[in-house]
């Protein structure tokens, strides 16, 4: 009699736990549904122009919304972040998992990961009051003096622009990319290294020719994860990018102010009244940002888990 009750409470517990395990999916669906349903008006009215247009005007009667400059702004700042951040992150990961003395590995990687603990509003504050001047004086001034005739380096070297935003993002993605890369590299089975050492390769040759090749798809995943972080970052970017609106937000030069999708949402959200076309347009940008982040993260996760799974396999 009593015994038969045991499985029931177990079953109930399992059911509750299973339901709560779906919370991430529920949250994602909620995000997708609310953003999609509230951006439908603007997508219906402007259709393709919303993705290809550059004008943004909320004056009654002249309403027109094109999100192209902000999509490109996100693309360009994230690309700068990857170009600068990825080599540094991979260097850190390789150094800490293959080349460095064993004793310093954990403390140094903890130090690098502290970069991820710094709140993004503090990155923005530091970026605007400190880092901006470093970029303006030592990088942008020479660029604009010697290469100012090239369109992408034209503009005043004041440091509130696309380049500074990209550099801040580069710093912010370093802890993500380097720690995932380190994990991926350490999942490479030791037999690979031993085989390479036994034919007389140096540490660097083992890393370069065997380990990195083996971890390649996982490292690519780590880079994509960094891209995901760069795409979604809002506060720090909005504090250093200059926040322009309309055709002038097109990122035509690294030294001009711009705007990303997330900083646009932040800047315009409180000026728009819920229910208006402009509000819908802002949420349309949010929807696009969400779709982008979703695809990026799915690709990254698939690539990283594929490599990490090998560790649990028969090779080790």
């Amino acid at each position: 009699m009593r015994l038969s009750r045991f499985p029931t409470s177990d079953y109930a517990f399992k059911l509750v736990a299973a339901a709560l395990a779906a919370s991430a999916l529920v949250i994602l669906l909620l995000m997708g549904y609310t953003l999609l349903s509230s951006s439908i008006p603007v997508l219906k009215r402007f259709g393709l122009y919303f993705f290809t247009g550059t004008k943004w005007n909320s004056a009654a009667g002249k309403e027109i919304y094109g999100a192209l400059p902000y999509m490109l702004g996100t693309l360009v700042t994230s690309a700068i972040a990857l170009i600068i951040g990825v080599p540094i992150s991979l260097g850190i990961a390789i150094f800490l998992s293959e080349m460095s003395p064993r004793g310093i590995r954990i403390p140094v990687s903890n130090l690098v990961e502290l970069l991820a603990a710094v709140p993004s509003v503090i990155y923005g504050l530091w970026g605007f009051f400190v880092f901006r001047f470093f970029i303006a004086d030592y990088i942008e001034t020479p660029l604009s003096t010697y290469f100012g005739w090239i369109p992408i380096f034209s503009g005043p070297p004041i440091g509130v622009d696309v380049l500074t935003a990209g550099c801040i993002l580069a710093i912010m993605i370093i802890p993500t990319v380097s720690s995932v890369s380190r994990e991926v590299i350490s999942a490479v089975p030791n037999s690979v290294r031993e085989g390479a050492y036994s034919i007389g390769a140096t540490r660097w040759e083992v890393t370069r020719n065997w380990v990195l090749g083996y971890a390649r798809s996982g490292l690519f995943g780590a880079v994509i994860l960094g891209l995901g972080r760069a795409v979604g970052e809002t506060i720090a970017v909005s504090m250093v990018i200059g926040n322009t609106i309309g055709p002038s937000a097109l990122p035509t030069s690294l030294l001009k102010p711009g705007q990303t999708m997330s900083s646009l949402i932040l800047n315009l959200f409180f000026e728009a009244t819920p229910g208006t076309q402009e509000f819908s347009a802002i949420l349309g940008v949010g929807l696009f940002l969400m779709v982008l982040a979703f695809s990026i993260n799915i690709i990254a996760r698939l690539m990283v888990t594929r490599v990490l799974k090998v560790k649990g396999g028969a090779i080790e």
């Binding site: 177990d10 709560l20 395990a21 080599p87 509003v121 503090i122 009051f129 140096t202 979604g232 949420l283």
Partner: protein
């Protein structure tokens, strides 16, 4: 022999370049910490930490309401998010050997790296439009960020509990859920605590989701509704004022925030290192 020298040189060169990458990454960290301390410390005083006076062009007011708001919202977030995250993690670890669980694990991972501004917009649309700005709305948005992190760290630390403990408890006839809650969770306690603390430190530093849900407030909150301030929003509204008093207030708030966040991070890392050493 000559070729060998070249190869050895290459090996040294790349070791050096790797070390250089570490240094390049650590310089911004050092610079941030230094600037926050140097520029924030002059603002610090008992009055700055407790009063709700506004900054003036010459003096930083007080961040009492911001500290209060951060504490309330982080507390509420923990109350909502940690139980859900832990239960979800229990499922993934203890019953997670099926396709449903691997799909849910995957979505948790995806949500962990999601743009946090989207959590803010979503809560604005489903909650704030109906009930208005409140610390609860802020906590809801922060829970969206906290739950997947807690879920994954719970799963990882439960998986480290040796099976003999589960076998022992079922040999004693303890029901599985009871054994999970009072024996397995207890064994995984330290991992759970460090994981939750790190997640809490992460959400304490969030700004974007709170702007859409708690909005910000420079007065003390009485009760649990109405716009609420936070340290992060305080920094975000004060930094762009051209007066030194406002900027000093922003740096002072940044110092308090970074002290809280880094203290949690450093303590957790030191504690887990000691545990690793102790086990050997």
């Amino acid at each position: 022999m000559d070729r060998y020298a070249v190869r050895r040189f290459k090996n040294r060169l790349f070791t050096f370049l790797g070390a250089a990458c570490v240094i390049i990454a650590v310089i911004p960290l050092g610079s941030i910490l230094l600037d926050v301390v140097v520029k924030g410390a002059p603002a610090l005083s008992w009055k700055f930490l407790t009063s709700s006076s506004l900054p003036s062009p010459t003096s930083p007011g007080g961040i009492g309401p911001a500290i209060q708001g951060t504490l309330i919202m982080v507390g509420l977030t923990s109350l909502i998010g940690i139980p859900i995250g832990v239960m979800s993690g229990i499922y993934l670890a203890e019953y997670g050997d099926n396709r449903y669980a691997s799909a849910m694990r995957f979505f948790s991972d995806v949500l962990t790296e999601f743009p946090t501004i989207i959590a803010g917009i979503t809560v604005y649309l489903i909650f704030v439009l109906v009930f208005g700005y409140s610390p609860l709305a802020g906590a809801l948005a922060l829970s969206f960020i906290l739950i997947p992190i807690v879920s994954r760290t719970t799963e990882e630390s439960i998986k480290l509990v040796p099976n003999s403990i589960r076998e022992g408890s079922s040999a004693l006839g303890i029901r599985k859920w009871r054994a999970t809650v009072s024996i397995v969770l207890r064994a995984a306690r330290s991992g759970l605590i460090t994981g939750s603390l790190l997640a809490v430190a992460r959400v304490a530093g969030e700004t974007a989701p709170l702007l859409f849900t708690a909005f910000g407030n420079t007065y003390y909150l009485h009760g649990l509704n109405g716009p609420t301030g936070s340290l992060t929003m305080y920094i975000f509204t004060d930094w762009k004022q051209p007066y030194s008093g406002y900027q000093q207030a922003a740096w002072g708030a940044a110092l308090v925030l970074i002290l809280i966040v880094l203290a949690i991070n450093v303590a957790v890392r030191l504690a887990s290192r000691e545990r690793r050493m102790g086990r050997r």
